[in-house]
């Protein structure tokens, strides 16, 4: 079961609210789609600079695996206040711990409409359907 303390998007990002900020990352499912468990398949991650303002669904970064470039989209509107500097040098963290050490950005959100997002059970259901 995935963590129940956060919300999930159809494009496999997770959002964890922390006061007036939110952490955003990508799920284990997204990571596995990119690298199928091979840590070395993740080669590059481009994340935004702090202070960048994001709209809902705006692309805030890109991640490259050996065979694909994929966008990272923000589920919330707000301002980037912190970027996980560890990730760009240690992409393997996304494989080993996508939920805690593998967070990507922290944003100070201006909207907190999470109704459209899925909870862990709903995300599990969506992922199980994608796998069949």
């Amino acid at each position: 079961m995935r963590p129940e303390d956060r919300k999930y998007t159809k494009s496999h990002e997770w959002i964890k609210i922390d006061g007036d900020t939110a952490l955003i990352g990508i799920t284990d499912f997204a990571v596995n789609e990119l690298c199928s468990g091979n840590e070395g398949d993740l080669v590059y991650c481009d994340l935004p600079e702090p202070d960048r303002e994001l709209e809902i669904s705006e692309t805030f970064g890109e991640i490259e695996s050996v065979k694909s470039v994929s966008d990272l989209d923000s589920p919330l509107a707000g301002t980037v206040v912190e970027v996980n500097a560890l990730i760009e040098e240690h992409l393997e963290i996304l494989c080993t711990d996508p939920w805690d050490k593998g967070w990507l950005i922290r944003i100070k959100y201006t909207s907190k409409d999470l109704d459209e997002l899925m909870d862990a059970a709903e995300y599990e259901e969506m992922v199980s359907q994608e796998q069949h």
Binding site: K10, S11, E33, S36, V43, Y44, D46, K67, S68, V69
Partner: protein, 242 residues
Amino acid sequence: MTDRWRLLQHFEAEPGFNMAVDEHLLGGGQFPTLRFYTWKPDALSLGYFQRWTDVPAAEKAGVVVRRLTGGGAIHHAEELTFSFTAPVTHPLYRGPVRDSYERVHDAIAAVLLEFGVHAELRGDQVVRSDVANTGMCFHKSTDLDLVWDGGKGLGSAQRRTGGRVLHHGSIKIGRTDLEPGISTLRSHASELTPENLAKGLRARFPELLGMEMEPDELTPGELARAEARAEHFRSSSFLHRR
């Protein structure tokens, strides 16, 4: 239900235009699209994240563009380029990225056999075409790449955005000075042309990939949009973005 695909072909098309058409197709479309094309003039395409300085051949190539897809640089000469664009939920692309490569590469290998080429996924083989520090796609292989005669002969890369995927591939027909040591089809099929190769792929893909292809042309609006956007892919700002 029939899996209907739009088929586009642009032989000897301008390099920036080629990238602009694929960008447009990645943005959406009623049907998934398979596109075959070649380049005039010959050009080198950088992978989306590559630094110009990491690809020495970029200084030697007359024309350079940057792709939206990842991976290494490709010299588009003596080859056939293909692009698939489809929703990521399409059966060809659903699931892990690796699986989608296997599906497409297995189909292409089956077609290449008809040209006398025994292509296979590289797997754990050591190939002679791997060369360090050139930044060229064909000089860096992965286990999913198609190889024959001990070298890489098909280069490919994907871009996934907005719930859609763009899958680029280059099948080498002949040798070029910028990519020494790679495998080509012409050593098995001396008269092979990009047009003939595209014809062979078109003929077998419906059976191999379960698709029905509808030959089509870009609409006047699509054509105008791609022509207007072509400059972006060869612009200094995009070429030197890293």
